[in-house]
Structures are given as C-alpha cells and as structure tokens.
Amino acid sequence: MPKKYTAKDTSLHAAMREDILALQGRLDVHTLMAAARVLQEHDIKYIDLSELTALDTPGALFLCTLDENIHLSHVRPEHHALLNLIRQLELKPFPEAQEIPGWRQFIIKIGRGAADAWQNILEIITFIGRTTVVTTRAFIHPRNLRLPPLSHYIEETGIHALPIIGLMAIMISVVVGYQGVAQLRPYGSEELTVNLVAVSVLREMGVLVTAIMVSGRSGSAFAAELGMMKAREEIDALEVMGLKPMELLVVPRVIGLVIALPLLTFFADIMGLLGGAGITNALLGLSLLQYLDRVRDVVKGWDLFVGLIKAPFFAFLIATIGCMHGMKVRGSAESVGKETTSAVVQAIFVVLMLDALFSVLFEELKI
C-alpha cells in the first residue's frame, strides 16, 4: 500500500513504495521542504524522478545535496542539464559571521566611539586651520576671492532664510514672554517681562535661534553639496585641473555665511522684539510706544553687540564643519547621508559650547 504525501499547495506528490520515493509534479522552492520532511521521516534509498514535471534551481540543489546513500533514478532528460549545472558548482556555505559576545561588543563600541570622537576633534581643528589659512590668503590676494559664488551663498543662506528665521524669532519671544508673565505675576512685577524678553532676545535667543536654524539649513546643505561632488569625483576633477577645491568651494561658503549670519541675527533680534511687543500688548496691555520706551530704558548699549559679535564666529564654525563633512564623504550615497547628519549635529553642539564660553567671557568682562 503506497503512502501518499502532498505538499501544502498540492503541486508535489510523493508516493512511497518500500525504499523508493516517487516524486510527481513540481519540485521547486515552495515544495522542497515537504520533500525534505518525507526524506527525514523515512528510510529512502532511491528517488524516482520519472514523473517530475518541473524542477527549479533550489529543487535541483536539494537533489544534488542529498545523502550519498540516496540515489536518483529515471531522471528526465530535460532535468539532466540543470542537475549537472548545479553539480559542477563548488557548493560551499557563506563564511560564518563573526560572533563576538555582547559585553565585548559593548566595550569595543565605547572604545571605537572614543577614538572616533578624538579623531573628529583633530579633523575639525585641522580643517578650521586650513580654512583660516585659505580664507586669509583669499583676502590678501583678492583676485582669489570669487564674487559671484560669494553673492550666491549670501542669497542662499541669508535672504532665503529670512521668512523662517523671522517666524522662529517671533515665536521664541512669545514663549519667553508667556513664561515671564506667568512667573512674575505673583510678585506683582509682570512689567519686568519686557526686560526679560528684550534682553534675552538681544543677548542670546536671537543669535542662538538663528545659528541653530542655519546649521540645519545651510550646514547640512554644504555637507550634502560637497559630499555629492566628492562622490561623483567632481572634486578630483577640480584637483586635476589645478584648481583648489578649498579655495573654490569652501572659501565662498564660509565667507558667505560669515556675512549672512550676523545680518540674519540682526533681523531675528528685530523680529524678536516685535514678537515681544505683541505678547506684552496681549497680556499686559502695553501699547507699542510704551513697550519701545521700556525697551529703550532696559537695554544697555552692549546687549545688541553681545548677541551680534557671536554671529560671525558661529557662522565660521557652521560653514567649516559643514564643508569638512562634505569633504569626508567616501563613495556611496549612504556616506553622504551620514556625513550630513554629523555636520548638523556637530555644528549645533559646537555653537552651544561656544555660546557657553562667550557667556563666561562676557560675565568676566562685566559686559
């Protein structure tokens, strides 16, 4: 009494007679596990393929890698070529993936992270040095200063950023104004909100919001632009023509941003003050004139300057870090994405760190 086995999709039938297994139908990628199960459960010596109508390469691989004491019989002529093709291949498994225990991987990651961070700091310092040299040289020999790209980058990083920067500045001063009124009202001194908004916008908020926004907008754009140029060998093409990528690509971006960012910051300061006017008008009922009067009283000469003086330093670092990561791209598109991300993250980090240093400096100088 022959036993019948059927794969799930019924396209393969296996009939057993003593130690002979007759396969009927299709032996393919969907049915071969059913055949494998039958072979595991029974002691088979011969596989009869005379009624096998279709065989694909995984099926052929299965037949070619059976135990040595299982023999194929009645192979159809059209399957011979395929079986021979698979047999002649040097069948070997993929190399084992290297298994490292979790705790070692953890330590390796920490070590590698620290090494990378150190390497990164060195690279940033080196690149800042190189950019400084090339930029200074461009000013000494103004012939090397290319004006059309420079004005392009001022437009791109400055003028095009005006709407978003203005909006952010207004919203930040609204947030600060709301907090000020809420916290100062119990002491009956909610009019001091004007001091809070005006001074914090001019000294810190204006320039920080602008710098962070520009890191995200332009720092990333610089990294991606230079990165794609690097990946498509455009930078190599410049080098071969005897042109200096640093001078041609990096300098206009850096100078452009150093010019644009202070202007943007000034714009953000104005918009922030306007936002403050709006919020104090809504919450405290101050008219615009009263508000401006208070602002003139509380803002000391240095406050605007303290904010603006930081802008070119931030701009220099944002542009330099963006360009540096662009130049670090190696080959693939994936690398462009990775470098762009690190450009933004590092630029914002460096901006905040530098801002903290400036705070200490101005405190010590009593400005």
């Binding site: 393919d28 969907h30 071969l32 596990m33 390469t57 069948l91 993929f94 190399p95 080959g331």
Partner: protein, 262 residues
C-alpha cells in the same frame, strides 16, 4: 527552437510614451516568445530605458498595455510578479545597507517559507552560479568591484528562478573577459532553465553572440527581426549599427564561432 505557436510570454500592444509634447514611443508593438533571447537596441536617447520601465510596469504608458502570459502587468500579484520577472538593473541596485547574502535572501525571505539555513544554501548556490565565490557573502555592496557588483545583482535577479529575465546593459563598462563570461552565463541560463531573456544593450558583441531576435528602436518606432533580417535593412541607423566597424568585427567573430561549431 522557438515554438511560434506558443502564446508570447510578454506582449506589448500600442505603447505610446510622451514627456510633455515630446513623443518617445509612438505605438510600439512587440512580442517575446517563451524561451527566446530577445535584444532591444537603439541609440542613446532612443527611449530604451523608458521602454524597459514600461514593460516592467514601473512607468504607466500614455497609451497601450503590457501583458505577461496574458495577464496585464498591473493585475499581477506581488508574489506572482516576483517569481515571473527578474531584473538586472544597470547599476546593480543592490541594497547598500544589506550584505551580499542578505541581498540575495530578501526575496526568499519574503516569498517562500524556507528555513534560514536552506535560504542561505540557495543564496550561496545562486552566487556560485553567477560566478562569485560564497566567501563574498558577508561583504557589503560598497566593498565590491564593478564586475562583482554586476554578478551579485545578476544572482539576486535569479534568486526566485524567474520565467523572464530583463537585463539592462548587462555588459556595459565591464572588461571584455567578464563581458564574455556574462554572455556565457546568459546562454547557460537560457539553455538549462529555459529562461526567457530580454536584453537592453549597446554591445554589438553581446547582441550578435546570443540574441536570436532583436528589436531596434529608431524614430519612435521598433523594427523587429532576426539578426540576418536586420543586416539587410536599409533604414540608415540600423544599417550603420550593423555595418559599422565594431559590428563588422562582432559579425566576423559570430561567423567564425558558427563555423567552428559546425
């Protein structure tokens, strides 16, 4: 031998493709028979890639329809499509975040219920079939050379044993030795698995070495014929293509090998 009575495995009827006012294809018809090796040629900008994308269903034509084994391409279920059609893209299109082995195993994981160990063995076998040592399995695509990328992409296109395999410029930018071995692989697949193969190519050598019928895209139209028929065409571009210096050398090689085979 092509059985001309059999229904075509791939059929395109009245394909029109336009970009704005510019017409790329004006009412193209073509049939690919099961088991044949079909070439598509045309000058740069003649719309070969657009035609290929239309055939694959990646681009909806402005008019006309594409059918595989009688079913419209839009109506094929994903699993059906995956086991019917394989594509070797020109740049390989290997997934850069996956290793070579994972690239090959992705379709197996999605469309079959093979256990992981068997998936690995099938993938390793396909890699060997495409002429790549299984040792490369744990590498990432960015670590491969151009020729290796092409072969791995070839192996991935073959993973589900497609009935019809599309090859977009399979031998471009490869050295002649690798190009020859890829031609050989194409012939081998066609002969042992009966795989239907559609090749889009510039390479006259590939064309004369392996294609039985060729569609030439010129002036928004296709001219389809065997190589010998096309050789006799008096359409200027086709004449130039098959009688230019490169073509002449390829044809000489073809005749030599035909005589050699007796």
């Amino acid at each position: 031998m092509i059985a001309h009575q059999a229904p075509p495995i791939l059929s395109a009827r009245g394909i029109v493709n336009r970009f704005g006012a510019q017409e790329v294809h004006g009412h193209i018809n073509l049939d690919v028979m099961p088991g044949e090796i079909f070439g598509i040629v045309g000058g740069s900008g003649a719309g070969k890639t657009v035609l290929l994308k239309t055939l694959l269903g990646l681009r909806r034509p402005n008019a006309g329809k594409v059918t595989f084994t009688g079913k419209k391409i839009e109506t094929l279920r994903p699993a059906e499509k995956a086991s019917l059609i394989g594509v070797l893209f020109q740049q390989g299109a290997l997934f850069s975040s996956l290793t070579v082995a994972q690239n090959l195993m992705l379709p197996l994981r999605e469309y079959t219920d093979l256990p992981l160990a068997v998936q690995e063995r099938v993938a390793a076998m396909k890699l060997e079939l495409a002429g790549i040592d299984a040792d490369a399995g744990r590498k990432f695509p960015s670590e491969l050379s151009g020729g290796m990328t092409r072969r791995v992409a070839f192996a991935r296109a073959l993973v589900l044993d497609p009935k019809i395999l599309f090859l977009d410029e399979p031998t471009s930018d490869l050295d002649p030795l690798i190009a020859d071995s890829i031609d050989h692989l194409i012939l081998q697949l066609n002969q042992t698995l009966g795989m239907t193969i559609v090749i889009v190519t510039h390479d006259v050598n590939t064309l004369t070495a392996i294609c039985r019928r060729v569609a030439v895209l010129v002036d928004k139209k296709v001219t389809i014929g065997t190589l010998d028929e096309l050789m006799k065409s008096d359409q200027p571009w086709i004449h130039e293509f098959f009688h230019g210096a490169r073509a002449a050398a390829a044809m000489r090689a073809r005749h030599r090998s035909h005589h050699g085979n007796g």
